[in-house]
């Protein structure tokens, strides 16, 4: 072949040359490729967000199914003769479908006492008793299950139930049909709900960039952020990671004490406004003042708190002390445990008309019972514990409230305050230089009843926070509190936050409940 078409000949030959695959070249390339932004690729945040939304959507229905199954079993047991009536019967005195909805939340722990009250009560009275006890169980779960700043529904469940309970008790007493055991049981149950509120109001603070000791690795440092590609260049202000403490009561978990900053001071106030509630209008308040700090050299946190819950039926003041300790620290992941002890002082108002030392018109002074007056202040000491695991992405905790199932001190026959088991799971990620996201789920269980809450928070430029929340979802109805939260960092130390929402469950029953909340946090990082 002459070389007239030399170029063409060479080209054809070269293009036909196919070297064999060499894996080592790929490995060399792979080493030089930039790290994957988040596990499984750039788009995996969509997967995380989708999973969170799906779980959020499914949880209420799963819980509802679970609780319905539990109630079915209980109804079968009751119908087999364990009690004189089922808890689902409509209470005659309360006479409201609204309240009836709560009756079905009863648990086995809330079965009527087998004392003289149940023996003498019959017909509607029996229903009343069941209703009261069942309501108490529901309230106990609701209140203890959502001890945080925004336990609106729980508080008003208590309000409504204790109000109904009051009427029931009064009627039964007037008819001389109910013995002291039953009335005491009912009252104590109502008191329990109050006493479980606001157990661990440890103020959340912020992250200390000058941390030393074991706390040094418990939270984000600015120089650690580079290890997390999806936050790189975004979260040079580590405070953003703590916005969840505004709408979610992580401060109830004592393991969280001291985690957020060197010193933290929080003042928080909430107003619940109910209209068409028992045909009237009611305003309740919940105030919290708390402070916590860390002791870096010991890897410990310590906090104190004070809460004041005021309704038209009771006032409860809770004072507590919480401690935490870092037990494991690996890289940017830390594990902490905590415990708290609190004094619960509850003052019920309504019983003052029904028990000893009352004056009956036309009769005069009557010593109705030799039992100690149930009105006035009752006290209990509660113990609580928790564990907290966190890193720049994950934040999960588990805590138990009322570990010691405390009794109110002068009512020995009362059922103990039930334990509350609560788990939380949150995942932080960013979708750009300005946006960080935090979907979070909360699951709790108490007295055999489960509840859930879901929140989705977005933080803009490390300064502004907005949260959509669906909280305290009732397992029976699938309805909960719909809220919007907002917050802003005023300066390095000061943060303001507020919220507004409504109770979708009450709305379905014709009660309009709006809640407004305002808080301020001062932090020294």
């Amino acid at each position: 072949m002459r070389l007239k078409n030399f170029d063409k000949y060479i080209k054809e030959k070269l293009l036909g040359y196919k070297p064999a695959y060499q894996e080592d070249i790929w490995k060399a390339i792979e080493e030089k490729l930039p790290p994957v932004r988040v596990p499984n690729g750039q788009g995996s945040w969509l997967l995380v967000a989708s999973a969170a939304l799906v779980i959020t959507a499914l949880v209420p229905f799963l819980l509802k199914f679970n609780n319905l199954a539990t109630r079915q079993e209980q109804m079968v047991q009751m119908s087999s003769g364990n009690t004189g009536s089922t808890s689902l019967e409509k209470p005659s005195i309360i006479g409201s479908q609204q309240v009836n909805a709560f009756n079905s939340d009863q648990t086995t722990e809330n079965q009527p006492n087998s004392g003289s009250g149940e023996n003498v009560a019959s017909g509607n009275r029996t229903n009343n008793v069941n209703s009261l006890n069942n309501n108490s169980g529901t309230l106990s779960q609701k209140l203890s299950g959502s001890n945080g700043i925004f336990t609106h529904k729980a508080r008003h469940s208590l309000n409504r139930m204790t109000s109904s309970g009051n009427h029931n008790i009064q009627r039964l007493h007037n008819e001389s049909q109910m013995g002291p055991d039953l009335s005491r049981k009912t009252t104590v149950a109502s008191a329990e709900e109050h006493s479980t509120m606001g157990l661990i109001a440890i103020a959340p603070g912020d992250i200390d960039n000058e941390m030393d000791g074991d706390f040094a690795n418990t939270h984000l440092h600015d120089d650690q952020l580079g290890k997390y590609a999806d936050r790189m260049g975004v979260t040079n202000n580590s405070r953003w990671a703590n916005w969840q403490s505004i709408f979610y009561p992580f401060w109830q978990n004592p393991a969280y004490t001291g985690s957020e900053g060197r010193y933290n001071f929080t003042v928080d106030d909430r107003i619940d406004d109910l209209s068409n509630f028992n045909g009237g209008h009611s305003i309740n308040t919940h105030t919290t003042a708390a402070a916590d700090m860390r002791i870096n050299k010991l890897g410990m946190g310590i906090g104190v708190y004070y809460t004041n819950d005021f309704t038209n039926l009771s006032q409860q003041i809770t004072e507590g002390l919480a401690l935490s300790k870092v037990i494991l620290s690996r890289g940017t992941t830390s594990v902490k445990i905590g415990a708290s002890v609190n004094s619960i002082n509850n003052n019920l108002f309504y019983n003052s008309l029904n028990f000893s030392d009352q004056v009956v018109p036309g009769i005069g002074f009557v010593n109705a019972t030799k039992e100690k007056d149930l009105a006035g202040t009752t006290q209990a000491i509660g113990l609580n514990g928790g564990i907290w695991v966190s890193n720049p992405h994950l934040m999960t905790g588990f805590d138990v409230v009322n570990i010691n199932t405390p009794h109110l001190e002068h009512i020995k026959e009362a059922e103990p305050l039930p334990r509350l088991w609560r788990g939380t799971l949150g995942y932080r990620f960013s979708t750009g230089s300005d946006f960080q996201w935090l979907p979070m789920l909360v699951m709790s269980r108490q007295s055999g009843v489960s509840q859930s809450s879901a929140t989705l928070t977005v933080v803009f430029k490390n300064k502004y926070m907005l949260t959509a929340a669906y909280q305290d979802i009732d397992p029976k109805t699938g309805l909960g509190n719909v809220s919007v939260y907002a917050g802003v960092d005023i300066n390095k130390h000061l943060r303001l936050f507020a919220s507004h929402g409504m109770n979708a469950e009450y709305q379905a029953f014709g009660i309009n409940e709006q809640f407004t909340h305002l808080g301020v946090k001062y932090q020294i990082l």
């Binding site: 080209k11 040359y17 196919k18 070297p19 390339i29 490729l33 994957v36 690729g41 788009g43």
Partner: protein, 190 residues
């Protein structure tokens, strides 16, 4: 590789846009032979070719989001590989300004006659033996289809210089390939 056969190109593109490692590797496997061949043409040896290929694919994966879908994926990747090879040549030129090509003093003989065929691998080795400038110009002109004007722009030389390097590359290849072929004939005769 069996998985690669079942994956369509659009899935491959989407996976690479997501920077999914699995799809990136499949893409690399799919186009390795052709792109490695391109690199070898521009390189002095296989190690050089590997360097070019590595750098080229790193660019491919980094810029994958810029792939518009117009034209073939292979053509888009090859353009990056060729560009990387040219950059590689430039870098070498800066490092070896004074290196005199091994074949520069070869005499430019008459056109030799080559009858029969040559193995592609031998031709590839012959191309790799060319001096950097001759090899690069020959590849760009004869294989990739660049004009002398484009070559001059890319390599920062004059068009005349480009033509001269091309001519030299041809002469060199002819000289190199003819003895090999002759040797093989002798082998066959024996």
């Amino acid at each position: 590789m069996s998985l690669l056969k079942t994956v369509q190109e659009k899935d491959l593109v989407q996976g690479c846009v997501r920077q999914d490692r699995k799809y990136q590797k499949m893409l690399f496997e799919k186009y390795f032979s052709e792109m490695m061949s391109v690199c070898m043409r521009y390189a002095r040896d296989n190690d050089d070719a590997k360097d070019i290929l590595q750098n080229a694919f790193i660019k491919v994966f980094a810029k994958f989001a810029m792939y518009s879908g117009e034209g073939t994926l292979k053509g888009w990747i090859q353009s990056i590989v060729v560009r990387t090879a040219i950059d590689h040549y430039r870098r070498q030129q800066r490092e070896n300004k004074n290196v005199v090509a091994e074949f520069e003093d070869w005499e430019s003989g008459e056109e030799a006659e080559i009858e029969g065929d040559l193995a592609a691998e031998e031709i590839m080795k012959s191309v790799q033996m060319l001096p950097n400038m001759q090899r690069t110009v020959f590849n760009m002109f004869a294989i990739e289809g660049f004009s002398h004007k484009e070559i001059a722009t890319e390599l920062e030389i004059t068009e005349g210089t480009s033509k001269w390097y091309l001519c030299e590359a041809r002469k060199t290849l002819k000289l190199v390939l003819a003895p090999v072929y002759a040797y093989k004939l002798k082998e066959y005769a024996a």
